[in-house]
Amino acid sequence: MSRLLMCPPDFYGIEYEINPWMRVSNQSNGDRARTQWQALTQVLEKEIGVKLEFMEPVPGLPDLVFTANAGVLHDGKAVPSRFRHPERQREEGHFIDWFAKKGYEVISLDAEWDFEGAGDLLGFPEFWFGGYRQRSDIQAYERLSTVFQKEILPVELVDQRFYHLDTCLCPLSGGELLYFPHAFDVYAQTVIAAHVEQTKLFAVPSSEAERFACNAVCVDRQVILPTGCPETMEWLAQHGYTPRSVDLDEFLKAGGSAKCLTLALD
């Protein structure tokens, strides 16, 4: 059974601006955020059968809700994030404590380089993609590759709106890949196209990329994605997936959606 880590949005809000989506003036509605977050947990637990674990929310850490940025977990090892922005660096200790408490071997990265966890590192069983330039440094992937014994292909993110790799690229369980090409430089676009068969590659239209269609959670053949992404849903359905949309607009105000709100624990 798939296990995901989530954190209730008790203290979620737009308290600073560290990406183009965030506007302190465009505040989130606390009740609506909680309702949307709960709807996501419902779909995950009740409809898909995912085992959820929860972190204790912390006052003053509004983005702790985005657990995808806690770090990367694989084979019993946890590499915690080193956030680029001081606003989020305060989250690091809480994530490290949680990993340690759950028995993961916590491996720290060199303090010199930034790395924002599963938000920037995701892929297939055979190899991973590592987003760099916006939030993570390419140098981190050299060490991560050694720690996890994985090929990590660094891909450069060039659009500030898609500041984490999981906002513009989503590997699916059957080897398919959703992505938004314009978020990548030409080298990365070439690399992605060379590593995924053409028939398995879906270039998400820009209107749906802006809705964070790629910030989807894939569990077996089930894909949860934000509302307002009909073309992506249709493509998923045609390729044997069951797409489910959840309204997560309150979190889009901070530049996050379904995937950002979860961290795979397997």
Binding site: E126, F127, Y132, R133, D137, I138, Q139, Y141, E142, S145, T146, Q149, K150, E151, I152, L153, P154, V155, E156, D185, Y187, A188, T190, V191, A194, H195
Partner: protein, 412 residues
């Protein structure tokens, strides 16, 4: 030139990160040499590349470094070179650095210094007071000489494209009997004129080196070559016993290896002519005395003596005589040839396998070199032995020399 070595590590091949870094260097106006690329054998293995970047200005170099660092380029800390004393005369320390014929610098106590007179397959010897670094052959090393070891603190500069837009600008050792010769010969002549003009005007001491074989005389190129030398276009001559012997045979008997050069037939007892010539010169003392005494009146040797062109005659196993100037110890001959090289700005290697390969391999890559032979194997061999800068010209030596002389103004 401003240079900096950087390294790049990770999954840099499949991710096109290496390609991106190299493209960025070139797009910004720099050049690079991939000095080392180690590709991981398994998918999860990391690959590593060491790249030497060159840029015309320090500002541009800095701009390039700033642009490539976000892609993982790490500026390598510069280290001094390492030296170890030679353990005995003629023996290099283990792990000695073997040279290329490209411009080379070594880093000594924080400063980069040029290694003088680049030549392939030698070692580098460092002298500390005054500080100098020279390339030395294995056999000349003396016990205790400081010899460079390992690969730290050494940088080798790729060949720069010459400013002149001529045949040497392509720097390709492509050998073909099919390509037109005329413009290549015209380019050679142009270079020779320029060197001569600079010498005459006193603002240059560049030399044209000519290395040739006896086929020049047999095939009828003697007259043209003698004219080129008399006109002051050649400043160093390398050859063997045979070229000198047959040239002087022609002067004394009008034959080359017994064939009358005028009528093109062998003459009675003509095969003895070169032996009688050598004997005559030996009796007179040497070539110089043979020319100055008026016995040898014209030809290649006479022209060299009259023009004061230094000659190095290197012997081979079954030389007749040999002529007194011929150096029969091959290491001594090598030394004499090497000593004549400083200042050479153009090398013509014509109709001789042994002298062409030996001379070519003694030359720095920066010297424009033309290898002319009727047999394409000769220029090919020269480039296979590492003298990649040589332009190969597959043609008869006589035709080459006559055409070259005409380009230089010969009316013959």
């Amino acid at each position: 030139m401003n240079t900096q070595t950087i390294s790049l590590q990770g999954h840099i091949i499949d991710s096109l990160i290496l390609a991106k870094v190299l493209d960025t260097i070139v797009m910004l106006g720099g050049t690079f040499t991939l000095s080392e690329v180690a590709i991981g054998t398994r998918r999860e293995d990391l690959s590593h590349a060491t790249i030497q970047i060159e840029a015309p200005t320090t500002e541009l170099l800095q701009e390039i470094l700033t642009a490539i660092q976000p892609h993982g380029a790490v500026v390598e800390a510069e280290q001094d070179c390492a030296v170890v004393p030679a353990p005995a005369d003629g023996i290099l320390p283990e792990d000695f650095y073997a040279t290329s014929h490209l411009a080379t610098q070594i880093r000594w106590q924080g400063n980069w210094i040029d290694v003088l007179q680049p030549e392939m397959d030698l070692a580098i010897m460092v002298k500390t007071s005054p500080l100098s670094a020279t390339m030395v052959p294995m056999g000349s090393v003396k016990k205790g000489d400081l010899i460079l070891t390992g690969r730290k603190g050494i940088r080798v500069f790729p060949l720069e494209r010459p400013k002149e837009r001529d045949v040497f600008g392509f720097m390709e050792a492509k050998v073909s009997s099919e390509r037109p010769h005329r413009h290549i010969i015209a380019d050679v002549a142009k270079r020779m004129k320029t060197i001569q003009q600079h010498r005459k005007e006193g603002n240059g001491s560049g030399k044209v080196l000519f290395a040739g074989g006896p086929a020049i005389v047999h095939a009828g190129g003697r007259e043209a070559l003698a004219w080129i030398i008399e006109e002051g276009y050649i400043h160093v001559l390398f050859c063997g016993n045979a070229l000198a012997a047959h040239d002087m045979e022609a002067s004394l008997y009008g034959t080359s290896l017994g064939y009358n050069l005028g009528i093109g037939r062998s003459v009675p007892h003509g095969h003895e002519h070169h032996l009688r010539t050598i004997n005559r010169v030996r009796a007179l003392g040497n070539i110089q005395q043979a020319v100055e005494s008026g016995v040898i009146k014209e030809g290649i040797m006479a022209a060299c003596i009259r023009q004061g062109v230094p000659m190095v005659l290197a012997g081979t196993i079954r030389d007749d005589g040999p002529l007194p100037e011929v150096i029969t110890d091959s290491i001594q001959a090598q030394e004499a040839m090497r000593a004549a090289l400083p200042g050479v700005e153009l090398a013509l290697l014509v109709a001789s396998t042994l002298h062409a390969v030996a001379t070519g391999n003694l030359l720095p890559a920066s010297v424009p070199t033309v290898c002319v032979d009727i047999n394409p194997a000769v220029p090919t061999k020269l480039s296979d032995r590492g003298s990649f800068q040589a332009v190969g010209l597959v043609m008869d030596s006589s035709s080459f020399l006559r055409e070259l002389a005409r380009e230089l103004g010969w009316k013959g």
